[in-house]
């Protein structure tokens, strides 16, 4: 499954457009990690636990998106976009969406 945020992909052409495929996940942070991040808040800097959390969540969103695209019979997802929304304190929705297409080598 090819995933790209371009409308085209080098060496291939789009044969069929199948619609929008999307995948999302809502994640909350771990209490222990949040406590350490609370201490980090005093001095600033990177909150590594959060970076990892968001990265994992995004990977899962992409995975769900590609699963949906596969179910539609696609072999690529093009023009992928990411959106993050914070729903309540400590929870965020991560969404990935794109166009499910079938591509073939030129």
């Amino acid at each position: 499954m090819l995933v790209s945020n371009l409308e085209t992909t080098p060496g291939h052409q789009v044969v069929a457009h199948l619609g929008i495929a999307q995948g999302s996940t809502v994640r909350a942070k771990h209490v222990g990690k949040d406590f350490l991040s609370g201490l980090k808040n005093i001095v600033g800097g990177e909150l590594k636990a959060y970076t990892e959390l968001m990265q994992e969540a995004r990977d899962e969103a992409v995975q769900r998106m590609t699963a949906e695209a596969r179910a539609m019979g696609a072999n690529a997802v093009l023009n992928v976009r990411f959106v993050t929304t914070s729903i309540t304190v400590g929870a965020a929705e991560i969404l990935a969406y794109g166009s499910a297409v079938t591509i073939a080598p030129v």
Partner: protein
């Protein structure tokens, strides 16, 4: 005599100030160290070019593409938040936050470039930036993400 009790009774006054001072000292140190590290890695990854154009530049031969991304969650410190609190009364530039976001953007782009480099690509196109406020308990934290498509050169 219980002189120490006065400190205990006035803890509500000096404790936030202490946090602001610690935030300033350590925060500035972390910021300087981070910026130095960013500059070093930017030099190392000079060979990877990131563009936000959507089309493959003329003359570039690519056999495949791969989605690459880089992200970072970065927190403000007590000092910056304290200053920003006053700033919001009068308006104007939030210099501390500007620097914070600059660090986050450069870091995210560097991580994207690193991922592209590891995938054997030297050109990333269609780069987009995306920032979200991640709820911090007291001081704001922001996540900055950069994503784009790395063009993989055909194997010689």
């Amino acid at each position: 005599m219980a002189d120490w009790r006065i400190w205990l009774d006035t803890a509500g006054l000096w404790w936030p100030l202490l946090l602001v001072l610690v935030g300033y000292g350590v925060g500035q140190w972390i910021e300087r160290r981070h910026l130095r590290s960013i500059r070093e890695r930017e030099l190392q990854l000079q060979s990877v070019v990131a563009l936000n154009t959507r089309y493959i530049p003329a003359g570039v031969v690519a056999s495949g593409s791969q989605l690459v991304s880089g992200s970072v969650v970065i927190s403000s410190d007590y000092f910056k938040t304290f200053v920003a609190g006053f700033r919001s009364l009068f308006g104007g530039r939030f210099a501390g936050y500007e620097k914070l976001l600059e660090r986050a953007r450069r870091e995210a782009l560097l991580r994207l470039k690193k991922q592209a480099h590891e995938a054997g690509a030297s050109l990333v196109i269609g780069v987009r930036f995306h920032a979200t406020k991640v709820a911090g308990s007291t001081t704001p934290a922001v996540e900055v993400m950069a994503y784009g498509t790395a063009l993989v050169r055909p194997r010689a």
